[in-house]
């Protein structure tokens, strides 16, 4: 019956954690700050003020571009995007139009359910590429606060560097979208350029959704023949799309897309083409609602920002920036799997760069005599949360203890057990009377005398052996 196929593309905004704003010296960290305390003539758009771009923000955008295998344009420029809104003090947003910093690229996603599969081929077959259209840099707007009948403007956020990542319409379901943005968030965090927190608004997702009606009996999308032979065949897109705004969590992105697919499919079933429009998402009702139709769409009147000369990036400059790229989560995961870590653990370890770094540093300490495998390191880091605050040395020591309790002096242990049975007659009697807990008291006493250098399981076994004679 499923003769409809959703076509989904994404626009993702990420606020950069630079020290200063995009075009002035005000602090970029605006979260939770007293309103309008981090402003100046530039980010307030006062008469005569001029923007000067933040070099760090440009470099970080290049870095994000390279992390997504995008091509860095050798010449890039800023453009003015005009629209009227009270949170936009200049009447235009400085953005990028036809010469973004980066274009093209992709992000690989493993499509198997991480829970379900223990082994994934080392080359990550079964992964799928989601294509990136472009990565560009712009400025954030101020924030409107609606209090009663009043609307207040806070310009602390005005001019904060904002990176926009646009994908090709490569998605056809909400699950892939969710996984993609989760992966993207991990990548951004690896780069250390943003906390990419959706609740705080430092990462924002705007899905563009349409639903394509498939020919009955055909599961394939109609493919337009390329005009010239060097063009890849392109999917024919529906003649409308719906953009959804104001979504502030991964879960809501998924819900909003699912609601929208259903809504549009229902309309198509009735023979109605959904309207091209921008819709908001109401997370309380779990519904999208119309905000602006195509007829009301802006003509942004883009033109090159005359206040900022074009940027020219030499190959060498881009290479220098690229050197800052850390090993990215997908590559790291692939390496861990090659090292013998099972898929689920490799996935978990690589979700957080700090944890993955901890894993790598600990595995470097492994000595063959210690009888420790990399999977043991993964195991302790993932499953023994109490070890999270240990130093790398401390963590490794702990590992050795868990793995090699037999290495301790057997004789000393036996002597200690004998000795403690003699001086704890009461506990021994209690145990013989059937008080199971008494054995644990004895185990504790032995552990204390052995200064922890023994495996409690083994002590218990030995005690039982002696006491049950």
């Amino acid at each position: 019956m499923n003769k409809y196929k959703p076509v989904i593309g994404l626009e993702i905004h990420v606020e950069l954690e630079t020290k200063s704003k995009m075009f002035c010296g005000c602090p970029a960290d605006h979260f939770g700050k007293k309103p309008n305390t981090q402003t100046c003539p530039v980010c307030l758009g006062l008469p005569g003020a001029l923007p000067v771009p933040n070099k760090k923000a440009v470099e970080w955008t290049i870095l994000i571009g390279r992390a997504l295998s995008s091509k860095i344009n050798s010449v890039s420029k800023f453009d003015r995007k005009h629209y009227f809104y009270p949170d936009l003090p200049k009447g235009y947003q400085i953005s990028q139009y036809d010469e973004p910093i980066a274009k093209g690229g992709w992000l690989n996603l493993t499509l198997r359910n991480p829970q379900g599969s223990k082994t994934v081929p080392a080359n990550l077959e079964g992964s799928r590429k989601f294509r990136i259209t472009r990565v560009h840099l712009e400025e954030d707007t101020g924030k409107l606060l609606h209090i009663g009948i009043d609307t207040l403007v806070d310009f602390n956020r005005s001019g904060v560097p904002l990176v926009e990542i646009v994908t090709e319409p490569d998605f056809d379901n909400s699950k892939d979208v969710k996984r993609f943005i989760e992966e993207l968030q991990v990548v951004i965090r690896y780069l250390g350029v943003s906390d990419a927190d959706m609740e705080k608004g430092s990462m924002r997702i705007e899905p563009n959704i349409s639903v394509k009606k498939l020919e009955v009996g055909s599961w394939k999308l109609e493919v337009k023949k390329p005009q010239t032979s060097n063009l890849k065949p392109q999917t024919v897109l529906p003649n409308y799309k719906v953009e959804i705004k104001n979504i502030n969590s991964f879960r809501f992105v998924k819900q909003a897309i699912e609601y929208e697919i259903e809504r549009q499919t229902e309309l198509l079933e009735k023979g109605i083409t959904p309207r091209q429009e921008t819709r908001g998402y109401d997370d309380k009702k779990g519904k999208t609602y119309s905000q602006r139709t195509k007829e009301e769409a802006h003509d942004y009147r883009y033109f090159p920002e005359p206040d900022i000369p074009p940027m020219i990036f030499s190959k060498k400059y881009v290479e220098e920036i690229q050197k800052q790229l850390p090993e990215l989560p997908q590559n790291r995961m692939q390496r861990y799997i090659k090292q013998g870590i099972k898929y689920q653990d490799a996935f978990t370890l690589t979700r957080n760069k700090r944890i993955a770094d901890r894993f790598d540093k600990t595995t470097l300490k492994i000595k063959t005599v210690d009888n420790i495998r990399v999977s043991d390191v993964a195991n302790i880091i993932i499953n023994r949360k109490e070890t999270a605050n240990l130093t790398i040395e401390g963590l490794y020591r702990k590992l050795k203890e868990f793995k090699n309790p037999r290495q301790i002096d057997e004789k000393a242990l036996d002597d200690s057990i004998k000795h403690l049975i003699e001086i704890n007659k009461k506990a021994v009697e209690d145990f013989k009377k059937g008080k199971e807990n008494a054995i644990m008291f004895l185990v504790g006493q032995v552990m204390r005398e052995m200064k922890g250098k023994a495996d409690p399981k083994i002590i218990k076994e030995k005690l039982l052996k002696i006491l049950s004679i």
Binding site: P41, P47, L50, H82, G91, R301, F303, P306, P309
Partner: protein
């Protein structure tokens, strides 16, 4: 001796030699402003008290033998220069109550050099105009003939310098707005290389052609002020990094052997005979000084104005969006007709479906015009041509027909489109005693050369000695 008749150089010498004090200098200028401004309307705001208190400070410094490029000198700022604590209106009622929180970079530099702001001068609102007739604060009258325009948009600064109300008047030149009043008022006006003087704190008209400078009585005076205001500014991404010489020290020296290009397109039909003749006479003076006059052609000249008009209006429409009625206390309906006209033209030129035909086409035209000049400067050193095709005109003579008014910019706009510097200097008078100017254009950052040529010419002709007769 009337202190207001002094030129900047003499005033600086007089202050240094204690012939008079800065307080006396400021008082006499303010006295003259008060006497004639009601009629001429060169000033929107007069800063009497602040100026006098700064003059007292300057006198203390002078007594301590302190030296500074403009110490104790009265300067009048065009009212689109943003001044901390002093109302800055751009001559538009939209900004009628606007008191800025910061100083423009050029203001910071003038103050640091010891200059004293005596007031803010009138202009065509937002810089939109060539005649001074588009101010929301009334017309500025030409001191040489009250029935005629001063030229604009730096109308107030042109009139104020010409009428001895100030030693220096600042301006902005987006399509001719400094050179035009200079030529109509018998004073020296510089349109510097784009980026030579920081635009930070100058209320933007057309960002890609706005050039910031000043009008003075003589070439030396002009050079001295540029030495103060020019230079790199980290607050302006388009400011040039080239070093700033002491321009006034580079005026001496021979100009013989210099090749001066005379573009035929600027002397054809459409240029009044008296204007062309006056320029030819000026060129003859330079030829007698050993310059070589070379006939040249700038073939795309006829496209320069349309190219300028589209780019300028497009940028104007964008730059004025911030006055959206939410801030600054006044609604958008306060915009005057000329601003509305440019907002509409510019918005249209940038609209989807029209941008290719107008805005993008103009950018291509701009490249051709820049190339015209670059080609010319391979063969010659300086270009000389009229500033205006006609004489100072009567009020309403052209204002009734915007198209006729826009034609005023045909000889000045090309340098704004190309970014090159151009200096307007007095070249004589019509039989009716109306001032006529000539402009010298050169390659980027050739201000020193332009000053040198103009200085030699000025030494020969001394037109600055002629003064208008004012009445209240």
């Amino acid at each position: 001796m009337e202190l207001t008749s002094l030129r900047l150089k003499e005033a600086l010498e007089g202050l240094e030699n204690k012939k008079f004090s800065s307080v006396e200098l400021i008082k006499s200028h303010i006295g003259r402003i008060k006497k004639f401004n009601k009629k001429i309307n060169a000033f929107i705001t007069i800063c009497e008290e602040e100026a006098l208190s700064q003059a007292r400070e300057a006198d203390t410094l002078i007594a301590k033998k302190a030296k500074n490029a403009l110490l104790g000198i009265p300067v009048a700022l065009k009212d689109n220069w943003v001044t901390k604590g002093i109302r800055s209106t751009a001559a538009s009622k939209v900004l009628d109550n606007y008191i800025p929180q910061y100083d423009a970079t050029a203001v910071v530099r003038l103050k640091a050099a010891g200059a004293i702001i005596i007031g803010k001068t009138n202009l065509d609102a937002w810089g939109h105009g060539s005649s001074g007739e588009h101010s929301d604060y009334g017309n500025t009258l030409n001191p040489w003939d009250y029935s005629r325009v001063t030229g604009g948009s730096s109308s107030g600064s042109g009139a104020a310098v010409s009428a001895d109300m100030t030693l220096v008047g600042t301006g902005t030149d987006t399509g001719g707005s400094i050179r035009q009043p200079a030529a109509f008022c018998n004073v020296v006006g510089l349109k510097p290389t784009y980026g030579r003087v920081s635009r930070y704190g100058i209320i933007a008209m057309a960002s890609s052609t706005d050039s910031i400078a000043h009008l003075t009585k003589t070439v030396w005076d002009n050079a001295r002020v540029l030495s103060v205001t020019a230079g790199f500014d980290p607050m302006d991404g388009t400011a040039g990094k080239n070093e700033v010489p002491n321009y006034e020290d580079l005026l001496q020296g021979k100009i013989s052997g210099l090749k001066i290009g005379i573009p035929k397109e600027y002397f054809g039909k459409g240029t009044d005979e008296i204007v062309a003749d006056t320029c030819h006479k000026a060129l003859k003076v330079l030829e007698d000084l050993g310059c070589k006059l070379v006939d040249i052609s700038l073939p795309h000249t006829k496209y320069a104005y349309p190219v300028y008009a589209v780019i300028q209006a497009s940028e104007v429409s964008s730059n004025l969006l911030r006055y959206d009625g939410v801030r600054y206390g006044n609604e958008r309906k306060m915009f005057g007709d000329e601003a509305k006209r440019r907002i509409m033209m510019g918005t249209h030129s940038l609209s989807s479906g029209y941008a290719d035909k107008y805005y993008h086409q103009s950018l291509k035209g701009r490249t051709l015009i820049i190339r015209d000049f670059m080609e010319a400067y391979k063969k010659i050193d300086v270009i000389a041509c009229p500033v205006w095709p006609f004489l100072p005109f009567k009020f309403d003579e052209r204002a009734i027909d915007p198209l006729k008014m826009y034609l005023s910019d045909v000889f000045t706009a090309p340098a704004n489109v190309s970014g090159n510097p151009s200096l307007s200097v007095p070249a004589g008078f019509s039989p009716d005693k109306l001032p006529i100017g000539i402009q010298f254009m050169g390659p980027n950052y050739s201000e020193d050369l332009l000053y040198k040529v103009a200085y030699r010419y000025e030494q020969e002709t001394k037109w600055y000695l002629k003064k208008p007769k004012l009445y209240e």
